[in-house]
Symmetry: C2
Subunit: 235 residues, 2 copies
């Protein structure tokens, strides 16, 4: 049994924080975008969406602000909002950031004591889930798990700011994934590399981890640049 004094002393999660209508609209759009049903570059018209979602135009605008801050859409004054298209420069910037930040996750994970073990287990589960998905040909899920893997890695660095920044960056990265016709060719090689990284982390060999990670990121960037750079030179 729990006494009242004990109840009062409990530390609660800051807020159950329900979601507003605008947030719900943003979530709906986010889902459509990251599922690829809204192609990069597509314009989102306020009136159209307001009618489709049965909400006011103002509420749609509020949702747009939320998505714009996540960089999933771009807002051009008096022109509208468009699903973000990632340029080659964007890809380079993203991987420049990842090469700086993800090593911090490796260090954090290796120097943390028991919590490092927990984090490592989380990474292992991501790889496992990705392998399962690959087995059943669900390459979209493989991509999701790949992203989840690296998010968890950076989370091990122990900085909420870095983690949430990478959250946004990875969501942006997924936009780039969507432009690839053949997802298997993109994600397949990185399945084994994630597995190997986990193994190296278990061994605790920091130098080897960092080398593997660096090599992973360079390869991923090159592959993605080949995809992103091509089709868009037209516009």
């Amino acid at each position: 049994m729990t006494t009242q004094a004990e109840v009062a002393a409990l530390a609660f999660a800051p807020l159950p924080r329900r979601e507003s209508t605008a947030e719900a609209v943003a979530a709906a759009l986010r889902a459509q975008i990251s599922a690829g049903r809204l192609a990069p570059g597509a314009q989102l018209r306020e009136e159209h969406l307001a009618a489709a979602l049965q909400v006011s135009r103002n509420t749609v605008r509020e949702a747009f602000r939320l998505l714009a801050h996540e960089r999933l859409v771009e807002h051009a004054l008096h022109q509208g909002v468009f699903v973000r298209t990632v340029s080659p420069d964007d890809v380079r910037a993203m991987y420049a950031t990842r090469r700086l930040v993800e090593p911090l996750g490796v260090r954090g994970l290796l120097t943390a004591g028991p919590s490092g073990v927990v984090a490592l287990k989380g990474l292992d589960e991501c790889v496992w889930a990705a392998e399962q998905a690959a087995g059943s040909g669900d390459w979209h899920s493989v991509g999701t798990q790949d992203i989840e893997f690296h998010r968890a890695l950076v989370a091990a660095a122990g900085s909420v700011h870095l983690t949430s920044m990478l959250d946004g960056l990875l969501a942006e990265l997924r936009l780039a994934f969507l432009r690839l016709p053949d997802r298997e060719a993109l994600h397949e090689p990185f399945l084994d590399r994630n597995r190997r990284l986990v193994d190296l982390l278990e061994d605790g060999d920091e130098a080897a981890c960092l080398a593997e990670l660096e090599s992973y990121l360079i390869a991923a960037e090159a592959q993605l640049l080949q995809v992103v750079g091509g089709p868009d030179l037209a516009d």
Copy 2:
């Protein structure tokens, strides 16, 4: 003379991008907040501000969304928006992040070639400006230059994502500064430390730089925690 073909080939800054009314309102509030005229914890009422700024309530709401994303204000559903109050845990999180990120700036600056020299010059100017401000007793400007110094340092890491993340973090940090009655005591010791850091960077002694930086951040965190932790235990 410049032919039309040459004009077409020029790379322009992405957008002159004028600001919308909502952004102007956000800017006005931002200025009030970081000048300390709006105390942390104070509630911002939509109707009041709409009347005061001669804009619609809807526009004020849009400005709130912008500021909420910058974490300068907190938004509680059906309760309103409040100027953010930074908790001791927030301070600890901010400095945990800075200890991870700022060393990346040092490395970036030292390994960059000619651009590193330029960045170093920028840092030197920040310190110089801070020393000038301190001489005339303008401790608010000293704080601004201190923030600018560390922003420039992280910018040298070469990641737009990291830079913009730190932008937000430092704006948040300034909120914490505002709660301190005696700004001189807060900023004075760090003037010399920034100067010393610049000297070490000029020498190119990476290990010494990192040690000095780490020591700086630990001292700053401790000092800030003493301020932030105290007055707020009451509420």
